[in-house]
């Protein structure tokens, strides 16, 4: 199972901030700054095709406020969920404790969820999710990859199958269109970490 159905790209938000706004700013604050960073990320994704997986790296960001979290995380996710022509998946890296609250709040407010790296090598599902979604996501995260037959056996209850379908639609796990395998997003980006 060495299939890598998407070739992920890494985007360093700290670098984008300095390049797209000004090299003088060290913090991800204010709504116009967040908007500029989101647009710069979207520009990078334009060349990624109709199917993409991005590792959005916050490791070098010291401060992120709610306005920027809304622009860079929530609006970015919403933009691609609304885009029927493209399937874009995201993993947010370096979302350490000081950033987590801001990101979780804006996701919940917009009814969104995201996969974050909360500690090095530790991934979490944050934002709005049901208990069933959380449980199914945890199981996929532990396994890394599930063959279609494994998925059917593991998630035999209707609520579990519904939760899995929802996670796929919401871009929180990846189902390969070719093989039907279910992939934890964290495993698809682990070679970039």
């Amino acid at each position: 199972m060495t299939e890598r159905p998407i070739d992920p790209i890494a985007i360093d938000v700290g670098e984008v901030l300095q390049r797209s706004v000004t090299s003088l700013y060290a913090s991800l604050v204010t709504r116009p700054t967040g908007r500029a960073v989101r647009m710069a990320i979207a520009t990078q994704l334009e060349g990624a095709g109709t199917l993409s997986l991005s590792l959005i790296d916050f490791s070098e960001v010291v401060i992120i406020d709610f306005s920027c979290a809304d622009e860079v995380v929530a609006k970015l996710l919403q933009q691609y969920l609304d885009d029927e022509a493209r399937d874009a998946f995201f993993v947010f890296r370096g979302v350490l404790e000081p950033h987590r609250d801001q990101i979780e709040v804006v996701l919940v407010r917009q009814g969104l969820a995201a996969v974050i790296e909360s500690d090095p090598g530790e991934f979490s599902l944050v934002g709005m999710r049901t208990d069933d979604e959380a449980r199914v996501w945890d199981a996929i995260e532990r396994r890394g990859t599930l063959e279609p037959s494994d998925a059917d056996a593991t998630f035999g209850q209707p609520v579990e199958r519904d939760a899995l379908a929802s996670l796929v639609v919401r871009g929180l796990v990846f189902r390969s269109p070719e093989s039907g395998r279910i992939h934890a997003l964290s495993r698809l980006v682990e070679h970039l970490l």
Binding site: Y25, R31, P32, V62, I63, F66, E71, V105
Partner: protein
């Protein structure tokens, strides 16, 4: 303050014996309003007390006042020596770049003071910076007028028996009622006023923007201030609304105050018990 219509105003602060960040930014706001209505820059007589002047100097009041008042700083400046509990000197807020400057500048000193004086964890400087960012953005995004921010720690020995950090933000913009009127006044009908506008923003997170991602700033500031057992109040127009902790006896909602152009946001963060 003296000075009639069309006359140059004079703010007489000579006998001032103590001033906190709220008082300092309020002096600047009063001067800005006087300049707007009188046409000429008002004058200010600075405090005679060397201690008060020294404190004003540490808070960089004179630099900010030079943009508002007709002021000969060199002749009245006090000393600026001594240990300082200044987290953030008075900083004018006009554009988003000013918010960045505030957040970047506060990183060094604020963390040390929050830790040593208030007993907050080292990561508190991040949440503190987020609070500053959001309150300052309120000026840029909603007030459409200039404002100032300042923050300082001092010992509330008699009132609370603990250190506190006071953050004060004030602007001379259009106020909460002015900011929200176009979008929200109709649904309130006759009840629309300063009080209902403050309730709409403070309690319900309404803003003039239709974007559902907006309106989180004040809500999340309230949440963080509550976690730290702090107090936050907003005064605008003739009303003031606040989130009052147990140690404070300020009424949560007051109307019928003297009209205040723009808005004043005051946040008090107390030291952890035993810190």
């Amino acid at each position: 303050m003296v000075g009639g219509a069309g006359e140059r105003a004079l703010l007489d602060a000579r006998h001032l014996r103590w001033v906190d960040p709220n008082g300092m930014v309020a002096l600047l706001a009063a001067g800005a309003v006087a300049a707007r209505s009188g046409g000429a820059r008002p004058r200010i007589e600075l405090p005679e007390s060397a201690d008060v002047n020294g404190y004003l100097s540490r808070m960089k009041f004179h630099e900010a006042a030079r943009d508002v008042f007709d002021l000969d700083v060199a002749t009245r400046r006090g000393g600026s020596g001594g240990a300082s509990d200044v987290l953030l000197e008075i900083t004018p807020i006009v554009a988003n770049a000013d918010v960045h400057e505030v957040v970047d500048r506060v990183q060094g000193q604020a963390g040390q003071i929050l830790s040593s004086k208030l007993g907050y964890p080292s990561t508190a400087v991040v949440q503190f910076s987020v609070i500053l960012s959001e309150v300052c953005q309120n000026i840029v995004e909603h007030a459409e007028g200039p404002g100032w921010v300042a923050a300082q720690a001092y010992n509330w020995a008699r009132r609370l028996g603990r250190y506190v950090v006071v953050i004060s933000v004030m602007d001379v913009g259009r106020g909460f009622r002015g900011s929200l009127a176009d979008e929200h006044s109709a649904r309130y009908g006759d009840r629309w006023g300063d009080t209902t506008a403050l309730e709409a923003a403070f309690l319900h997170g309404l803003t003039r923007f239709p974007d559902s991602g907006r309106g989180q700033g004040i809500q999340q500031i309230r949440r963080q201030v509550r976690r730290w057992d702090g107090a936050i109040s907003i005064r605008s127009g003739t009303a003031r609304i606040g989130q009052v902790p147990e140690w404070d006896d300020t009424p949560p909602l007051v109307d019928g105050l003297a009209p205040l152009p723009g808005a004043q946001i005051s946040i008090i963060l107390p030291a952890r018990a035993g810190a």
